[in-house]
Every structure is written in structure tokens, then in C-alpha cells.
Subunit: 441 residues, 2 copies
């Protein structure tokens, strides 16, 4: 009987697979594609995976290739993928916490448990309400710009589409010509609205709930919230500052200082895994591309719509690295010590993601002759479900497209599996082996 | 009084600094440079750092720019750098082990201690004898090829120079035109002799002593030796196999199958941090460059002449990653469990190295307009003290050269510091902070 029982991860993976399958079939209907254009099975699959995994890499331009029906299918996949992901991973995080709490009662005081949240059903209702409100406000703000430009119907539709796409960190756009929001690179309204939506979605529900419960008194927040907020702030502002410097003699030539700061901040914000872009990534300097890849790899925060290895993962790793530099045995942050369990998990998440990116890149490089930087950028983008590209997505041969599809799927489902992993962790190894010391480094 | 006392690391760093300084001054003497050529302070410094840190990156061709005197200075720096490094790091490893042993008596049984080795003086004597014998045999074998080609005197000199350069994992060559040993790419004698020397030097003294003491009965070896030997074998053969596949339609076109296998194996072997090359790295496919960068980053084994983060570091990380995938709490290998202390150190070593490479690359990209892949390759090469380049070393502006010099120095001195770090580690943190759980991934 045991063999027939699916693990939590298998259920999630199967669920995503069903969503992808449905999306692919709907996108293959003639009504989804504009007259004269052709959608192959692979293109439909690629689009469905990209949408439901809220990645945003596309082989067919969303605004011009698909009909309104096709675009609504994509929007539905984004909403299901983004919300479903957040709800599912949050539910697992709750259950994990509960299970941990039962084992380590001393740390339960500060940790959320499922009775506090009020169960998965109440959680889901809360998430749905917050999502509707935030996406609604975002759509209204964006419409202020789009309605005068495109007329009422199209302007409102554009507002709703891009608001959902931003909140879910999907990065799909309707601007046409694979251009993302480059046309609005100097527009504060569009930029700040999108950045707000991306940040709210990417910080994750738990952080906002904590902020709400503690009435915005930052020093009283849970450790998790403090780490997420400070890491997100430092990454966005620090990343923006570095991009500002690196593009000073390149992309920024001809921009006024306001536009320079706006584009730098927007690119830094969107790299952590929203996937819009207001400048052409292919035109960036090598240094900026490296910074973007790093930001894409790190991604957002646990229990959010964002992808990547997550801010908490990189903070745990950097804190342990800092402890090593200081010759200290324990890694501390905000007056709390981090546990070895967290380090184990951070190492696992970091290296599984890195191995997928490195293997995916090598396979694509073996399949076709492309620049290493472009392929690496594409693989980081797919694995972190980011969606920014230097433009090679459409040059990929079918086998390479399958690699990118695989990375997008693993990047998203894998993220959930990391939450599941700790939950399903064996309490004690079947056989305890004797330990033996070795030299490192 | 305490402030005046230097730490072990400071002593090592100061020692390396003195060697570099002496080397730079000697290389700046007019007698070091061939008539008509010019050696700037920066070129001399670059060469002295590259030689004493056994890296092998050069801004002036070793065979044609320097006189015999200059080449002998370089050779002396290589021998001092390689041997000194091995001796110093081994001494620290011994002392570390002893200190650990006193704290954790249960793991002392299998661990070497300094009385077993017979003190640092006896250790150094042993190392000197082994080095002389191995380098002597290597020089003889290489001379079998070089004497018929260049005559007795030059042939023997070439044999000695390249034997020392290979054993010390330095990668300096006298072939001229920055060509390394490309002319001998199909020569089994030269290739296998160099690979032998590189491997012997890169496995480290402790492994050979263990093999000797256990009379080559592999199953009785210490855990460290088992890990080092199996990782080195898998990386060399696995890396070679991947390179063979990736270059099938590129560099390997026109080669017979023997030469294909030989060049693939040689490149895989030399990337882990010897730094010779028998094919042009710039002509490799993107995938091969990525594989080479990975191999360069990993490097050789602790207590050897090689650089990089070391095989044991990557094995510990991968074993913990594997444990995560299996939902297991402890990482086991060869019937032994690895400790959290080893993981702490592996994480520290990995990320300090990675951060230096990423920051160095970003700074060089900011300073001048070069391809990201080339700069990344160069930075990995410098930090791992490898010496393979896609050819941009001579295109670097002075500020970029200083970055590479900095990375080479940190890569080498840092390696020693990692051994020191554990030794000087505080047994208990000054204040134990309460722990609080966070979500990862
Ligand atoms: K995205
Ligand atoms: K080297």
C-alpha cells in the first residue's frame, strides 16, 4: 500500500504538471493565436510552463502573437502559478514549523504555528483578499498611465495584466516586440508601481502579516522578517548602486540623473525575480550582467511569489562565512544564533540550484553555438524563474528549449520541494556512522 | 603587548610579501631582461607574484622576455612558493589536528598527530627528499624529448624547468609566444610526464605518506586520503570525458582519437590548478570554458602544491547536498559521517573564494571593456592560482593587473589562512545567543 501513496512533493509536481498540460492545450487552440501566426506544440508548452512557473521567458511575443483569449489563458496560468505557489509553500512552511516546534519546544515561543494562522483555509482566504486588494490598487495606478495612452478598455486591461504579472513576479508584458517596459524606462509612475507590486509579492505573506501584527515596530519582528526585510533592502539598493556605477559610461550615457537612478533601481529590483526590464540586458556591460545573474540567483523571500534560492538562504550562508572569517563557531544575526539545520538546508538549496544551472548551461552550449555569457544568463533566469534574457530565447533550438523548460519547472517545483524537504526529513539516520575528521581548504 | 604579537596568518602573509618583494627587485635588474626589452615595475611585480604564488599567468613571455638569470629567479620563486606553501600548510594542518585531537579524543584514533609525523623539521626533510626525487625523475623523462630537440644543455634545462613548474603546479613554461605546451599536444611522453608530476604534486604529501604507510591497501586509508584520491580521479576522468564530448565538433576536428583523449585528459588535469595548456583555451566552446572554470575553482587537495578551494571542500559540500536530497540529517561517505565543523569550514572556504572571484571580475569589467567570459575565466584562474587564460592577461590595464595580482596573492595566502582559521578558532563564542528558526529556500 505504501508504494501507492504519493509524497507531498509528488502531489505538487503532479499538480503543476496538470496546470501546464491544460495551459498547453488551451494555447494550442486556433482561437489563442492571432490569424496568420503559427503556434507549435513546443511553443505552447514553453509558454504554458513559463506562465505557470511565473518565469516570463517567451519564444513568442505575448502582446502580438496571442489573441485576447490566449493572453487571458496566460494571465490565468500566472495567477494560478503565483498564488498557488505562495499558498502551497506557505502551507508547507506552517506544517514544517509545527513539526519542528514539537521537536524543539524551546524555539516554539517565537515561531508561528498553524493555530495562530488559523489553518490553511483561513490562510488561503487571507492571501486571496490581500492579493485582490494589492493587484487592484496596482491596476488602477498603472491605468492612470495606460488609459490616456491606449483608451479606456485597452488601458484598463493593460493595467490589470501588468499588475497581476508584477505582483506574481511573472514578468510577462503586452508591450510587443519582446521589449518589456523599455518604452517606460523614464516613467516614475509605471516604474514605482511595478517595483511596489514586485516588492510586495516578493517579500512574502508572512513578512506582511508579521509587520501588521507587530504594528510596524521593526525591532519586535520575528527573526525571519528582519532578515528578509534587511536583505531585500540591501540587495535592491546595493544592486542598484552597483548597476548605476557599472553603466555610467555605457547605458547611462545620455540619461539625466533621475533616469539613471530609476533604471538602476528598477533593474536591481526586477532581477530578483520579477523579470521585467526597462533597459536591454544584452546592451549591459559584462560586470552588470554578472551582478544581474547574482541577483537572479538569490531571488526573493520564502513564502512569496518570487523564485531563486531566497534571501534567507544567502543570508545564512554569508553569516556562516562571516563567522568563519571571524574564527567564530556560531553564526549570529540580530542577536540570535542560526542553527546548523538552517545551514544544512541553505547549502542544499544553493548547490542544487547551482548544479542545475551549470549542467543546463553546459548542455545548451553542447547543443548549439552560443556565447557562454548569454547561455549562463538564460539558465540563471530560467532556474530562478526570472524571465530576463539577453535575447537568445528565440534562437534556442527545440532541444535547448526543452532544457530551459526543464529548468523553469525544476526552479519552481524545486522551491516547494525545499519547503517539503525539511518536513519529510528523517529524524535520525537509520545507522549512525562513526565520524572522522578531514582537512578542508 | 598583545597588539605587537603577529598572528600565524600575518607571519605567512608577511613571508610571502618578502619573497615577492625580493623577486620583484631581482627581476627589475637589467640582467634579468633580454637586451632591447623593457620590464616595468608592474610587470616585474606581476611576474614575481605569479611565480611565488605558483599561478602561471604572465604579462611577459617567460621564454623570450627573460634572460637565463631572470628565468632562474622565476624558477626559484616557484620552488620556494610551491614547497614553502606545502610545508607551511602541512605544518598548520598537523598543529590543527593536534589541537582538535585534544578536544575530541574520540576522533583521534584515526587522525594523524605531530608526534606520528615526527615534528615539522622531520616533515620538511621528508618533503624535500620526495620533491627532489620526483622532480629529478620528471626532469629526466622530459629531457628524453627535449635533449634531441634542443641539444644537451638547453634540453636538460628545459627538462628541469618544466619538471619543477609542473610538480609545483606553477604552469610556467619556456616555449615562447605564450603558447604553453600546445606544440606537444599529441606527445604522450611530455603529456603523461607532466600529468604525473601535476598529480603527484596536487594530491599532497599526506596522501602519499598514507598510501606508503598502509602499503597501498586502499580500503585501509584514512578518510581524507580516500576522499582526495576518489575525487581527484573522478574530476580528472569525468572532466576529461565532458571536455572530449564538448570539443567533438570544435577543437577535436582533425585530431585522431588518441590525440582527442590525450588533450581532453591533459586539459582536465591541468585545470586543477597546474595551468599548462596543450590547446588554446580561447578556442574552446562555451561549455568547455564553464567546465574549465569549475575545475579551476575546485583545484587540488589540502597540503599539496595545488590551489583552489580543494577537493575535500567540494566533497563535503556535495555530500551535504546529497543528504539534503535524500532528506537525511547527516552526510556520510566511505562509512564515516562528516561533522558540522567541516561543513562550516567548507562553506567559509567556498564563499570567500567565490566572493573574491565575483568582486574581482566586476571591478575589472568596470575598469575596461572586456568579454565577461574572458574576465571570469581570468579571475577564477588567478584566485585558484591556475594560470590558464583565454589570452586577456596582456590586454589588462595596470589597475586590472593589480586586481589579478591581488587575487593571486589572496588565493595563495588565503589557502593557508583557511588552515590557520580552524586552529585559531574560538572554542566558544563570548556570548551564546538564543537561537530562532527561519525558513530557507
Ligand atoms: K519572473
Ligand atoms: K598554476
Amino acid at each position: 500500500m505504501k508504494k501507492l501513496k504519493m509524497s507531498n512533493l509528488q502531489i505538487v509536481a503532479a499538480g503543476y504538471f496538470l496546470v501546464v498540460l491544460t495551459g498547453t492545450l488551451l494555447l494550442m487552440l486556433p482561437v489563442a493565436t492571432v490569424d496568420g501566426a503559427d503556434t507549435s506544440l513546443l511553443d505552447a508548452l514553453f509558454t504554458a510552463v513559463s506562465a505557470s512557473c511565473v518565469t516570463g521567458l517567451v519564444v513568442q511575443d505575448t502582446g502580438t502573437h496571442w489573441t485576447l483569449f490566449g493572453q487571458l489563458v496566460i494571465l490565468a496560468l500566472i495567477q494560478i502559478g503565483g498564488l498557488g505557489f505562495m499558498t502551497i509553500s506557505l502551507s508547507f512552511l506552517m506544517l514544517t514549523r509545527k513539526k519542528i516546534g514539537l521537536r524543539h519546544r524551546e524555539v516554539m515561543v517565537e515561531s508561528i504555528n498553524s493555530s495562530q494562522i488559523g489553518g490553511v483555509v483561513r490562510l488561503t482566504r487571507k492571501i486571496l483578499i490581500v492579493t485582490a486588494v494589492v493587484e487592484g490598487i496596482g491596476a488602477l495606478l498603472l491605468s492612470l498611465r495606460f488609459v490616456p495612452q491606449y483608451g479606456t478598455a485597452k488601458g484598463l486591461y493593460f493595467g490589470v495584466f501588468h499588475s497581476i504579472s508584477a505582483f506574481c513576479n511573472a514578468g510577462f508584458d503586452l508591450m510587443g516586440n519582446y521589449d518589456s517596459i523599455v518604452a517606460y524606462s523614464a516613467d516614475p509612475l509605471v516604474n514605482f508601481t511595478l517595483m511596489g507590486l514586485i516588492t510586495i509579492g516578493g517579500l512574502g505573506f508572512l513578512v506582511w502579516e508579521d509587520l501588521w501584527q507587530k504594528k510596524w515596530r521593526l525591532h519586535r519582528l520575528r527573526l525571519q522578517s528582519k532578515i528578509v526585510l534587511s536583505a531585500s533592502f540591501l540587495l535592491t539598493v546595493g544592486g542598484g548602486l552597483v548597476l548605476l556605477l557599472l553603466e555610467a559610461n555605457n547605458l547611462n550615457v545620455g540619461m539625466d540623473s533621475g533616469e539613471r537612478i530609476l533604471t538602476a533601481l528598477f533593474q536591481s529590483c526586477t532581477a530578483r525575480t520579477a523579470g521585467f526590464n526597462s533597459v536591454d540586458p544584452a546592451a549591459m556591460t559584462g560586470g552588470s550582467k554578472l551582478v544581474m545573474m547574482t541577483l537572479m540567483f538569490i531571488g526573493g523571500s520564502p513564502g512569496s511569489t518570487a523564485g531563486g534560492i531566497k534571501t534567507t538562504t544567502i543570508v545564512v550562508i554569508l553569516m556562516y562565512t562571516l563567522a568563519g572569517i571571524r574564527h567564530e563557531r556560531s553564526a549570529n544575526i540580530f542577536g540570535r544564533s542560526l542553527g546548523d539545520d538552517e545551514l544544512h538546508k541553505a547549502v542544499y538549496v544553493f548547490f542544487v540550484n547551482l548544479l542545475f544551472v551549470l549542467c543546463g548551461t553546459t548542455v545548451i552550449c553542447a547543443l548549439q553555438n552560443l556565447q557562454l555569457t548569454d547561455v549562463l544568463f538564460e539558465a540563471f533566469s530560467a532556474m530562478g524563474t526570472v524571465g530576463i534574457t539577453t535575447g537568445i530565447t528565440r534562437d534556442l533550438i527545440p532541444a535547448s528549449q526543452l532544457v530551459i523548460i526543464f529548468l523553469m519547472y525544476c526552479g519552481r517545483v524545486g522551491s516547494i520541494s525545499f519547503a517539503v524537504a525539511l518536513m519529510e526529513r528523517k529524524a535520525t539516520p537509520p545507522v549512525t556512522m562513526p565520524s572522522e575528521r578531514i582537512n578542508i581548504g
